[in-house]
Amino acid sequence: MTGYVWLIPVFPLIGFLINGLFGKRLSRKTIGVIASGAILFSFLLACVIFFQMNSSVELSEKGIRNVLFPWIHIGDFSVNFGYLFDRLSGSMTLMVAGVSFLIHVYSIGYMAEEEGYWRYFAYLNLFVFMMLTLVLADNLLLMFVGWEGVGLCSYLLIGFYYTTEVASDAGKKAFIVNRVGDFGFMLGMFFLFTLFGSLEFQHIREAVISAGLKPEHGMGLITLATVLLFLGATGKSAQIPLYVWLPDAMAGPTPVSALIHAATMVTSGVYMIVKLNYVFQLAPITMLTIAWIGGLTALFAATIGTVQNDIKKVLAYSTVSQLGYMFLALGVGAFIAGFFHILTHAFFKALLFLGSGSVIHAMHHAFHHAGIHDKDPQDIRNMGGLKKYMPKTYWTFLVATLAIAGFPPFAGFFSKDEILWKTFASSHRVLWAIGAFAAILTSFYMFRLVYLTFFGEFRGSKREEEALHESPSVMTFPLIALAVLSVIGGWIGFPHIFKLPNVLEQYLEPVIENTGGIHFLHNSALEWGLMDVSILCAIAGWLFARTLYAGKSDVPGKLAKTFSYFYSILLNKYYVDEIYFALIIRPVKKIGDFCWLFIDTIIIDGTVNLVAYLARCFGRIYSLYQNGAVKVYALTMLGGILVLFWIFF
């Protein structure tokens, strides 16, 4: 079966083609089945190949490589359509295929009564195809194909409700900000090609190792290349400068947010850096910038998350914050910890989104039933006390919250603690502090969310309340599956002090080349201490949220008034969007107008028309001179002779 690696991404492509071309004529049920079936097939195939690969040592070392056909061959630049299924991309494929299968099943229920059903599933399948191409690509250019393809699908899916200006604006914003990131990615590729003569991962890896390059070689080019690649990653994985599109991307349907803006697409930036770890390690400056930007994003997003009132906005900022953590891990050199957090984050964040999805779904029914159209089903202030009506959703949501907050048995704890420990161990004390404080904020806003939505009384009319009911089983089954994964997900990466096998570490060890000479302290006592500190942070955040929101007290209202200034800044997301608009969008439009109205019409056209006008003027002057009087004609002849006299003598 090793020859069929390319079939993994092609299954969703076939799904896309069927749904895309014949979607209108198929019934909703068949569309859902085709779409989810395609993902299921590719997931199963991935599992089979995964086991086949691990069974043979030689294969698991080098990875399975299928080269389909030559793509761009110009001079010495040769790139072809090839898929590489090695340990790293294999595990990532399993996660992507698995999570997207669950989300497909979920969306059959969620999108049941939406029109444009077939279009949704077609785009979703196309998205999975693009994501798998990105993951399984054997060279950077094919990864770039997946990279932009994923951007396109997120544009289509965010703008799914295209009749509303908000959705289509958000879609366009997402695509353009991604394009800015891709600009960096492309330039990074050029630098890499100049350095290593090829864009294939294996080729670059051998070039780095065989040349025995070390960070102190001070290769300016490598730093430049890695910074540009990181710029691409920030675009895609929503880090500080280019994160603005993620919160607006919530305008799309919730399963889309779950799949794209939580589990798969946003982590592709991190995945790319993990894949090119041996190159990034050669550029210590870049590692530092990645670490710092990761840390700052984590803190920054967490602060905004604490005051948001839209359930999906809170989760969006929490995603940005968790991604900040992943980049922090990469920055300090803990690539495997970063990758581990990708996996765990995918499980519990997808679960959180799907949970919020079923809540919104229920609220939507309630408002619909009560005939209210102006209230926003996503606003947590209209919810409250849903525990009684949606027990399954509540419990799965709680599991995910505990996971993300970092309570021990759950997945989140292991991966986040691993990151914090590795940050501290690589002597980045300040970054560790930022991380810890962000962890407190994380658990605070998550528990605030839980209390506001599920605990207390229902803040809405009686007619809405009786219409609340649990989501159908097709939606709750994926919730439960993800809840299980959120729990056991963490157990594949026990910290070594637990004396339990760190499965992931050993498995991915050959993937990471230690070219950067990064070393970590080995002090188990310190590690235990820090683990306790991170648990304390989680508890502190929980207690703080409970005191504020559990009871019916109006403490949060008073708090908001006293710190009204800070509160309003946080609520308006530090006015980042407005700043971007003022600094970039409006000036560009102005320059556009200036160029068109001034340079084009006045200067260039102006001169051309002026020349034409001058010619006509001379003509007119001459025709006035030729006024028909014979005297004037004779005089001109005379003048001519005088001129000849002047010339001759």
């Binding site: 793509w71 110009i74 001079g75 200006e165 600009f183 492309m186 050029f190 090609f193």
Partner: protein
């Protein structure tokens, strides 16, 4: 049938159509239209033979025909025609676009149909002639003849300001080509022959080369159009009928870049190398300027016109980067631009036939009423902004790679600025797409817009197929162009290294 003069058959085949059309009565419009479509399809099939018999293993001129034309005393030019990797695909693009154009103007043109078709066929002869001509005088004759039918097409069947646009188009190009005529005369006087390949061998002095190159460059820059000479393009496009602007954008603009690659650059390599940095800067300015101005346009056709200024800036950048990637990318981008911008104009034409307005504000939320049209428009938009797996990406990527790897000083700054064009491209295209197709529910009069008809789908599908074919499997084209581009690159490379060394700049990175 007659093997030796196959290329002349392909070039002058449309004249046969013109001759037959004369016998049609001008009232039998339907008959003329159907004849036009059938004839152009036959012509395309015939021209495919050029592709199949094209031997790209080694660089040599193919289908060459050389016979006496004017053997007078002070002017002896030969009827010397032939094709190589460079002109092959532009010729095929022309014959490929013609049937599509005739299909699209089935309902587009109502008055004076017969003379419209005659003009279109004459235009095609002019274009094919200039592409195959390898004798400077013959090239110049075809280059000018091409203007007349295009002038009539814009002038007679155009929009409101058609006469101003037609005159502006004619005078702009005529000014440039008259300068070129002076250059040709000077070269004939010095070298004694019009044969391009003999002239490649002839070494002009540097001072001569500078004058001659600037003269040729201005003539072709107006045609391309390069930044300062581009103001005729938006007028010509908005005023031309759909068919006119498709053929104008699809092929006529390519003649400028083809002229650069075939005549201006190889004939005067030393001057070209000296001017290349300035041309590159102009190309980049063109890219960014074109994109910025396209952003603020209110009329879709003007927007697309400015976008082609930006796209052709890429092609010029690719050519003048003097690297194998850049040149191949530039050549491919010429074809891509022909397909994607041609498709865009066809799409604008379709919606123009229904609503008779091109202002973006008149549209909104059409995706709901015309979903199929929206999908086609989306595919073409993606190809135009260069999304991977579409043709635009392959072209743009190789050009940017070529610029990056070029041995000009601080080449990577050029690449960075040119790459911003990729972002700006996405901005104006998607912003336009959003305002036209999304944003609101379709307004009252937009409600009853009916979706694509079979005929319209029939001529859009081949374009979409080409978009994905070049996007996914470009090496079919690269292999056929490789040898020719190598041939020309060898001429430039030697000159460039010499220039860089004595200019004290570092050698190749």
């Amino acid at each position: 049938m007659f093997e030796s003069s196959f290329l002349s058959l392909v070039t002058f085949f449309p004249l046969l159509a013109v001759f037959i059309l004369l016998f049609f009565s001008s009232r039998a419009e339907k008959g003329i239209k159907v004849f036009g479509i059938i004839f152009s399809i036959i012509h395309f099939l015939i021209s495919l033979k050029l592709l199949f018999d094209f031997d790209y293993s080694v660089y040599k001129l193919q289908f060459v025909e050389k016979s006496k034309w004017i053997a007078s005393h002070f002017l002896n030019s030969q009827y010397f025609i032939g094709i190589d990797g460079i002109s092959l695909f532009i010729i095929l693009l022309t014959t490929f676009l013609m049937p599509i154009i005739f299909l699209s103007t089935y309902s587009g043109i109502t008055k004076k149909v017969k003379s419209f078709y005659i003009n279109m066929f004459l235009l095609e002869v002019g274009i094919l002639g200039s592409l195959v001509a390898l004798d400077l005088f013959l090239f110049y004759v075809f280059w000018e003849i091409m203007l007349i039918p295009m002038y009539f097409i814009i002038g007679v069947w155009g929009g409101e300001r058609r006469i101003y646009a037609a005159i502006k188009f004619f005078i702009y190009t005529m000014a440039g080509s008259l300068l070129m005529l002076l250059g040709i005369m000077y070269m004939y006087r010095v070298a004694g022959t019009f044969d391009v390949f003999k002239l490649y061998g002839y070494h002009f002095s540097l001072k001569e080369q500078i004058y001659l190159f600037s003269v040729f460059a201005i003539a072709f820059a107006i045609k391309v159009p390069v930044f300062p000479f581009h103001t005729w393009l938006p007028d010509a496009h908005t005023e031309a009928p759909t068919a006119g602007s498709v053929i104008l954008a699809g092929v006529l603009l390519k003649l400028g870049t083809y002229g650069f690659l075939r005549f201006a650059m190889p004939l005067f390599p030393d001057a070209m190398v000296k001017f290349a940095p300035y041309v590159i800067i102009l190309a980049i300015v063109g890219i960014i300027y074109g994109a910025l101005v396209a952003m603020v346009q209110k009329d879709i056709k003007k927007l697309v016109a400015y976008s082609s200024v930006s796209h052709l800036g890429y092609v010029m950048l690719g050519l003048f980067a003097l690297t194998i990637y850049g040149m191949q990318g530039g050549m491919l981008q010429m074809i891509n631009h022909g397909i994607s911008t041609g498709a865009l104009f066809l799409l604008v034409g379709i919606v123009y036939e229904r609503k008779h307005t091109r202002l973006i504000s008149e549209y909104g939320g059409i995706a709901k009423v015309m979903p199929l049209y929206a999908t086609f428009f989306m595919i073409v938009t993606l190809s135009s902004i260069g999304l991977p797996l579409t043709n635009g990406f392959v072209g743009e990527f190789s050009i940017l790679l070529g610029t990056f790897k070029s041995s000009w000083q601080h080449a990577w700054i050029y690449t960075a600025f040119a790459a911003t064009g990729v972002i700006l491209g996405a901005v104006y295209m998607l912003w336009m797409y959003q305002r036209v197709f999304f944003n609101t529910e379709p307004s009252e009069e937009n409600k009853n817009l009916e979706d694509l008809k079979i005929r319209e789908i029939a001529y859009l599908v081949p374009l979409v197929i080409m978009i994905f074919w070049i996007g996914i499997y470009p090496s079919f084209f690269f292999r056929r162009m490789e040898k020719s581009v190598d041939y020309y690159l060898r001429i430039f490379k030697s000159k460039q290294t010499v220039m860089l060394i004595d200019a004290g700049k570092g050698g190749i990175r």
